[in-house]
Amino acid sequence: MTTFAIIVSTAPTDNRTLTALKFAQALLTQGHQIEGVFFYQHGVINANVYLQTPSDEINHLTAWEAFYDVTKTPMHLCISAAERRGLTDSNTPGFSHNIAKNFTISGLGELVVLTNKAEKVIQL
């Protein structure tokens, strides 16, 4: 059993995001452990609760949410990267929390923690 951390940097319009999810699923199927998935750069857009795609295409938000429901793998969102891209965890006047429920609001410090916990860190 090996412990992993995965960094996701690609947007929900980018097919590479599915690769990261499938890699994560393969890890768990093989009995390895994921300390956390960290969403950084354009990867944060995957956590926007309002992502919509036609029914015959994969919805990356739904896919990651389902992955969490089944596996309880921690999914961390870099809030400073997210705010630049239209996500907010605030409900103060002018804002309305729009980060999907299975994502944990984090800072870059959480990535440092994951890096120390996991034996393997993979950027995908």
Partner: protein
Amino acid sequence: MISNNRIAIVNTATTFDDFKAKEALDLALIFASYEMPVALFFMADGVFQTKANQNPEGIGNKDFIATFKALGFYDIDDIYICQEDMVERMIEGELSVDGAEILPRTQFKQTLNNYDLVLTF
């Protein structure tokens, strides 16, 4: 107003490069639905879109490449592929598009130059 307004959509991106191919095709189809003359050009990595036997559904996408076989139905009849870029990328045999003209680079660029509006993706 642009006279005649013949429109060229130039595909330079691969099939799955951040949705560019799909958003270019959507735009081409809209122009055609307004009965505006629209042509598709494939060059650089865009020629990878013309490869036969692609399977977008295998990686979670809608099979938008299948639409390439029905472009005539949408009145998009002018489709050009850059020959040198195909050769460089070893694309040969059957293609994902019907009725495309494979043009040497010199003719490809002269054909492109005949259009009034050129949009690149």
